[in-house]
């Protein structure tokens, strides 16, 4: 049986919960497609809910076993939703327009890792201009891993030429992220990438994309080596107020951590 390590479970649970809290995704417009979509969604939710219930129970067992010094039980695998993904892909292929097809494709990409390549190719070939395609925008940077090095550039190119500013913006972000992270700040490569990204952020309507672009540039320009760090005024875990600048004169190892 395949298992996942104990430490990864809280993270998986958190991401599953976060996925549920995201704003609802657009659904197909035609009644028949909408009905089919709703059925698949319900099935997906059922599988996820069952898994989360099981995982939470096992997490409690793990805590108990740790305290008792006993071996910890294995974690349940995430549910296999690949069959659902295949059905979603089939539905997308039958759909006659983007309004019906794109929601199925977005679902297929999330549900079936093996079929994601086909779904992404279809999105690039036929629906790069559809606004719904922006929902998978943050995946464009991972195309080589998802569809293979051979197919990735052609698909990325289609997204880069999209008529939709968010899809185009995500493609631009995928193209320039590395440059903003690593190129010398006084090089033409860096300055060019930065100005293209700023323009993309202005044209985009996706708050997520705007944030990602701002964070990438800030990370480099405000927080790269050589910059003076901003102060932090806050309170410690006991509620006692203190400031980062209280530690001037000392080397500070500032650690953003969490126990999850």
């Amino acid at each position: 049986m395949r298992t996942i390590p104990t430490w990864a479970l809280p993270l998986l649970l958190a991401s599953a919960l976060a996925a549920q809290q995201r704003p609802p995704q657009p659904t197909p417009k035609s009644p028949a497609a909408a009905e089919r979509y709703a059925a698949l969604k319900a099935e997906q939710k059922k599988l996820n809910d069952e898994w989360m219930t099981k995982a939470k129970a096992v997490m409690a067992e793990v805590e108990a076993a740790k305290k008792a010094g006993k071996p910890t039980p294995a974690m349940p695998m995430r549910p296999d939703t690949s069959a659902l993904g295949k059905q979603a892909l089939a539905a997308a292929k039958e759909a006659t327009d983007g309004d019906d097809a794109v929601p199925f494709l977005v679902m297929a990409i999330g549900a079936d890792r093996a079929g994601a390549s086909d779904a992404l190719s279809l999105l690039g070939d036929k629906y790069a201009d559809h606004p719904g395609t922006a929902q998978i925008g943050s995946l464009i940077g991972f195309l080589p891993r998802l569809v293979g090095d051979d197919k990735a550039p052609a698909i990325a190119e289609k997204f880069a030429k999209s008529k939709n500013a968010d899809v185009r913006g995500w493609a631009m972000f995928a193209k320039h992220e590395k440059t903003v992270e690593t190129a010398g700040r006084d090089t033409d490569a860096y300055q060019g990438a930065k100005s293209e990204l700023i323009k993309a952020a202005e044209l985009a309507s996706s708050a997520d994309l705007k944030d990602r672009i701002r964070e990438a540039i800030d990370t480099r320009e405000k927080f790269g080596a050589g910059n003076v760090a901003p102060d932090i005024e806050g309170a410690d875990l006991d509620g006692v107020a203190f400031k980062l600048s209280d530690y001037r004169g000392k080397v500070v190892f500032l650690d953003f951590w969490g126990d999850w």
Binding site: F223, I232, V251
Partner: protein, 107 residues
């Protein structure tokens, strides 16, 4: 990560060095439990009830956890990234420079 940080704090106890956390758990009780269970020996800001989306991680444009930022005595950034060993190396070199000026050998 905890054991590495704990021993770093111990090792640098008498030196011009501070390990400061920004705890990004939503629930402060969880953070306190982690401190107690793992005997964490450093002081942390709490990022607030929004956790990783709280004001401090947001202002610092933090996108991954853990992220470590190493500052010198003047608050200038010398390292930012996710590699604890690299950050430790940078911090120790800076402490060496700071302490080296006043040289009285130590132990």
């Amino acid at each position: 990560m905890y054991p590495h940080e704990r021993s770093l704090v111990d090792e640098m106890k008498d030196k011009p060095f501070a390990l400061i956390g920004v705890n990004s758990d939503k629930d402060i009780a969880r953070a306190k439990k982690a401190v107690a269970d793992n005997q964490l020996n450093w002081r942390s800001f709490h990022a607030g009830p929004d956790g990783t989306r709280g004001p401090i991680p947001k202002a610092w444009a933090i996108q991954g956890w853990p992220t470590i930022v190493v500052l010198d005595g003047e608050g200038v950034i010398h390292y930012r990234g996710h590699d604890g060993d690299a950050a430790t190396g940078v911090a120790k070199a800076l402490v060496g420079k700071l302490a080296g000026g006043g040289k009285d050998g130590g132990k």
